[in-house]
């Protein structure tokens, strides 16, 4: 195919986008509405996932050692644990550090009660605090830790980890479900809009086919039109979601300070780093598929 023919098809597609302005507007509005909903859900779910991830990062398992264990063995155990894939971080907590923490927690403002303890009651309670990369691996890690020679006790975080992995699974399903539903709805709506738009131009397609135009020549302007509509239809919701997200973050930061301290929200840049290509990709994909498949129905002239 000649380059001039390609440019001609592109020009016709561009012209057609403006010429059939009502069809263009209807299609852009449909894609925009679907992708706007997608963008909102994406931003909410990503923040949820981020919060769960933060909570996961704080989940730890404490490992206590047998009485009279040598320092070398404690170090060996530390090495063994830190090499596990499910472990993100291992922190050694000496008995003295543990007692200091307890004192702060239990005896703050009641220092007299603390004076009753002449020695460290947590003697022989040196431990490792083990943080997980993925809470769903909690059970496997605990079994391993219990099997290590020299380990006396393992304090599990089973309920927290189970809850967090449950939430993770639910978020995964919800995200997947919403994406599938929105995609199906948008493809249905787009296909209807394109079908109506193209049936009006069925005669135009027939004329082209009678004159001897190839399927490519007939289809190319429609596909280019579909892609243009897809790009515009994805950029509009991106801008709207960007503005809404920014405003909501500002509002939360100003009005609900305690909430922003409690929960860590993703920045607009973090959200849009992935949302922008995904949204444009979906818009282009929907526009391309919608026009490609609908024109095909009329090509058998």
């Amino acid at each position: 195919m000649k380059i001039s023919t390609l440019f001609y098809c592109m020009w016709q597609g561009l012209r057609s986008t403006f010429r059939n302005k009502w069809f263009t507007l209807a299609s852009v509005a449909t894609i925009s509405a679907c992708l706007f909903l997608f963008g909102l859900f994406y931003a909410i779910l990503m923040n949820f996932q981020h919060m769960v991830k933060n909570a996961q990062d704080g989940v730890s398992v404490t490992v206590f050692f047998d009485e009279g264990i040598s320092d070398e063995r404690v170090l060996e155990i530390g090495e063994l644990i830190s090499h596990r894939v499910e472990v993100s971080k291992v922190e050694y907590i000496s008995a003295d550090e543990a007692w200091e923490t307890v004192k702060v927690y239990y005896f703050e403002g009641n220092e007299d009660a603390e004076k009753g303890f002449l020695e460290n009651p947590l003697e022989e309670s040196d431990s490792y605090e083990v943080f997980l990369t993925d809470v769903s691996m909690h059970e496997a890690l605990v079994s391993y830790l219990k099997s290590i020679d020299g380990v006396r006790k393992v304090n599990e975080a089973a309920s927290v980890s189970n809850m967090l992995s449950g939430i993770n699974v639910i978020i995964g399903y919800v995200t997947g479900g919403i994406i599938v539903i929105l995609f199906a709805v948008s493809v249905f709506l787009i296909s209807n809009t394109v079908t109506i738009g193209i049936s009006v131009r069925k005669e135009e397609i027939q004329i082209m086919k009678y004159i001897g135009a190839t399927d490519f020549f007939v289809r190319a302007p429609f596909v280019i039109e579909g892609i243009i509509i897809g790009v515009i239809g994805s950029l509009i919701p991106l801008v709207v979601v960007y503005m809404i997200y920014n405003q909501v973050m500002l509002y939360v930061a100003e009005r609900f300070t305690y909430l922003s301290q409690l929960m860590q929200f993703l920045t607009v840049e973090e959200i849009f780093a992935n949302l922008t290509p995904v949204c444009i990709g979906l818009g282009v994909g929907i526009g391309f598929l919608g026009s490609f498949t609908t024109v095909r129905k009329h090509l058998s002239v």
Binding site: T5, M208, K209, Y210, I211, G212, D215, F217, V301
Partner: protein
């Protein structure tokens, strides 16, 4: 008016541009649009196909254009077995056939120049040749001064001339005209028929489907009469046969 003659025109097989061999076409079972039709049209002929509405005339055009396939029999155009054409071969095949319709079928959003140039663009003719060819063909159909006009700014006769220019610009071997004067007044009808005759004199085979009795009778060309899917008459220098 000459009617009722059943004389068949015998042709040399090698000269046939269009051949129908035992062709039947049924859109619905038991109601054939064409029934066992045998027909041969030679290079350079001017042929009228006449008949009532629903007699099968337009089906013949559709078969030649390879818009539909015969239910039975074979159709040859320029020696090509139309039935055997693959979908991807159809565009190239159609470029050797020009076609005009009763309703002109112009691209409404494009001007006269673009409507005609379009036929050249699809066969990837270089731009400089298009700029040379389009004014030339528009002059031939008498529309040189209206190349910027949109179809809705033209009269019916002018629109049909644009359609003719578009059909002819790629120099097809065959020109099919499906009721080309159906939407035109007598003056414009005659102008279009004169153009078709001129095109035919330049060597293009012209096949005209029409209801226009006056024109058919006056032009004294070969006339094929179709009735209920059967060719009932095929006359050299024929006339319009009354249906009753």
């Amino acid at each position: 008016m000459r009617t009722g003659s059943k004389k068949r025109v015998v042709r040399k097989p090698n000269d046939h541009v269009i051949s129908f061999e035992n062709v039947s076409k049924a859109y619905t079972e038991g109601a054939p649009a064409l029934n066992n039709v045998n027909l041969h049209i030679d290079k350079g002929e001017f042929v009228f196909i006449v008949g009532d509405s629903g007699s099968g005339k337009s089906t013949m055009i559709k078969l030649i254009m390879r818009e539909v396939l015969p239910s039975k029999g074979r159709v040859f155009v320029n020696g090509i077995d139309v039935v055997r054409l693959k979908h991807r071969q159809i565009p190239k095949y159609r470029r050797n056939i020009g076609i005009v319709f009763q309703d002109f079928r112009l691209l409404k959003d494009r001007n006269v120049y673009e409507n005609v140039a379009f036929a050249q663009r699809i066969i990837q003719v270089p731009g400089r040749e298009i700029r040379k060819n389009v004014p030339s063909i528009l002059s031939m159909v008498g529309l040189a001064g209206k190349y910027k006009a949109r179809p809705k700014q033209l009269s019916g006769g002018e629109q049909q001339r644009v359609a003719l220019a578009r059909a002819l610009i790629n120099k097809p071997d065959i020109l099919l005209a499906d009721e080309p004067t159906g939407n035109l007044d007598p003056k414009n009808s005659w102008e279009i028929m004169s153009l078709l005759e001129k095109i035919n004199e330049n060597g293009t085979t012209v096949l005209v489907v029409t209801h226009n009795r006056e024109i058919v009778n006056a032009m004294q060309k070969r006339v094929i009469t179709v009735k209920k899917g059967i060719i009932v008459s095929d006359e050299e220098r024929g006339g319009y046969i009354d249906e009753d």
